[in-house]
Symmetry: C2
Subunit: 376 residues, 2 copies
């Protein structure tokens, strides 16, 4: 039985991956405390006050995982029903790794304003909002607006979760290869949600030379087909304003980071990179280059999004601890400084990084605690 | 320590009444089935298909408890934060009595169209929608529109939960007093969400003579201050078109049903009713008349909303089984026939009704099963 068949069978057998449990027993004696008439006193206490509500309701520990299903995994725009199994899976991870009570919310609206309105409408129900699998470029405005308009931790995980774990890996890759990130030439392929967030975070961290590449080639000021977010990349990427293909971009590069498509990076391209090249081939499920081919072509370190190769760049290293920390520490804005601190905390968990171990495993002890303590 | 203090302390101690639990263990082996990459197969399977989604996700067993906090218990418009403890309490009852995974959703929007939009936006996340503590008259349009526009079970419990349990009690009260509902003169005080729904359901059940009374007196065609819902009551209530006060209305009545305010009904009014009068004094927490006073004035049967007197008309007898049945039996519209069937099922659970036992207790065995099997 292949993995897909096994996964579908398991889903059909369980008929759901989460459930609601009760923190107290419902009896004739407790009913009048948990519900009418006693509950009225908790309601009076919490009226118009989200902070007091957190003292008496589960909002102190809840995160809504919100998706409109417009960019689910590698499946694309499969709508709210298609998105639900992924969001429910993510709720499992939130609970297992960080004891966060996460609720999957899939939206039957897809327009930027409608998504913002729906999230704002339900916001008082939750302690935080994890935006997920919402397509670029609308995901950028949706996240920015919600962060500005709501007083609670909000993060689009496809952007920042990926960026944080990638930076963590790169910090350790630099230690292994003896290079410094600030001196690196980094080629980033895929200028969607994850790619743009990675570029921004790398720039924030150490201002390396970054070249972003999309399906049309290197993103340069000469291009006339760029959306607003890609244009913003030019404020710090491609300062020499070169044009060209991915092949041109990777020549002499220290690092290749792909959040794009299977098989984009050839062995010849790896050979054209600087010595000890670092490859983050993060396309799922099939990387931009397979690890064995990259190694053979001279790659010093290779990371993928997969668990069956070393160095899995896995969002599960980030979001559980990030929201755990935000909820516990009363953080209402997750800033770039938080993201850098989380990446450094993750990197520091690997005491002696090697080519085959630049990031921790989500199941390693202390991961959530380390990340959570950096969100304060 | 009084009940309110005890309730608030318990809420502060538990910091929430529900949590999310996991239906499977998260391990490196299961992670790739529950989450990426295996989950993609469940997502493909469920794409654009709510029915298939129910085979692989918790939507087969979830109900959103939705309130904008505009009419919470007797507290009135206390907003979403104030509403949350009540909705979370209701989620407990859903789970305890009917094993339904209910999620409290409190809304930061209050306008009819905005509430409808928010509920429609999140609808694919759930198997049913329990509207709760939304003020009249907007609650009527919100429920009607959502029922028309969404293909899933939707019920405003303040209306129909109360109406179903009231009808159940009245069926047994009629057995005890030897009267037939179709021959009764019934005075209904309070023409908000619950009162209007009770009137409609009693009419549907047996067309008794109904007189509805609000704070201005008997609702009659001569009144110029009636909203649309009150006007609709005139299609079947007050056919003789009399005007007057509550005092005038109850003279000679067989049944008084109050969903209004503490202390409205005097002993003198009870004495003016027909022989063996039946009193449903459902105002919470203080009834329209206290049971001992009503008894002394000649009441044959008295029911209240409280657990510390006999005959508690408690919504918890209704909603858990109603949604359990709707989810299990694939019912997407809860109709008047369903409501009558649920009331009859509840009434039938009391084998030998007496003046002190006209409705079951929510903790009695078989309540949820009986109600659920009537929603098919």
């Amino acid at each position: 039985m292949d993995l897909n068949e096994e996964a579908l069978n398991l889903h059909k057998k369980l008929k759901g991956k989460i459930y609601t449990g009760l923190r107290g027993e419902v009896t004739p004696d407790t009913l009048k405390l948990f519900y009418s008439p006693g509950v009225a006193e908790a309601s009076r206490y919490a009226t118009d006050n989200a902070k007091k509500l957190k003292e008496v309701a589960w909002t102190n520990n809840t995160v809504a995982i919100v998706s409109d299903g417009s960019a689910v995994l590698g499946l694309g725009d499969i709508g709210p029903e298609g998105a639900m199994p992924v969001m429910e899976g993510k709720a499992m991870l939130f609970k297992h790794f960080a004891d966060v009570d996460a609720v999957p919310i899939v939206l039957d609206v897809h327009d930027t304003e409608e998504i913002i309105s729906a999230v704002k409408a339900i916001a008082p129900s939750f302690g935080g909002i994890n935006l997920e699998d919402i397509s670029a470029p609308k995901c950028f405005e949706i996240e920015e607006r919600l962060k500005a308009e709501l007083d609670m931790p909000i993060m689009h995980d496809d952007q920042h979760g990926t960026a944080i774990v990638t930076l963590a890996g790169l910090i350790n890759a630099a230690r292994v290869t003896g290079k410094e990130i600030k001196d690196m030439k980094i080629v980033l392929v895929g200028a969607g949600a994850a790619g743009i967030a990675i570029a921004k975070l790398l720039h924030k961290y150490a201002q390396p030379r970054i070249f972003a590449v999309d399906s049309k080639g290197i993103i340069s000021a000469n291009r006339t087909d760029l959306n607003e977010e890609k244009k913003k990349l030019l404020e710090f990427s491609n300062r020499s304003n070169i044009d060209g293909s991915l092949e041109n971009a990777v020549e002499g590069a220290d690092v290749f980071i792909g959040v794009s498509k299977a098989g984009l990076l050839s062995a010849a391209m790896v050979k054209s990179m600087d010595k000890n090249p670092v490859i983050f081939a993060l396309a799922n499920p099939t990387p931009e280059i397979m690890p064995d081919i990259a190694k053979e072509a001279g790659a010093s370190i290779i990371a993928t999004g997969r668990s069956d190769f070393p160095n899995q760049v896995n969002n599960a290293l980030g979001f559980p601890g990030i929201f755990r920390g935000a909820l516990d520490n009363g953080v209402t804005k997750i800033t770039d400084d938080h993201k850098v601190a989380a990446a450094e905390a993750l990197a520091a968990l690997v005491e002696n990084p090697t080519a085959d171990k630049i990031v921790p495993n989500p199941f390693d002890e202390g991961v959530v605690e380390a990340v959570a303590s950096s969100i304060k």
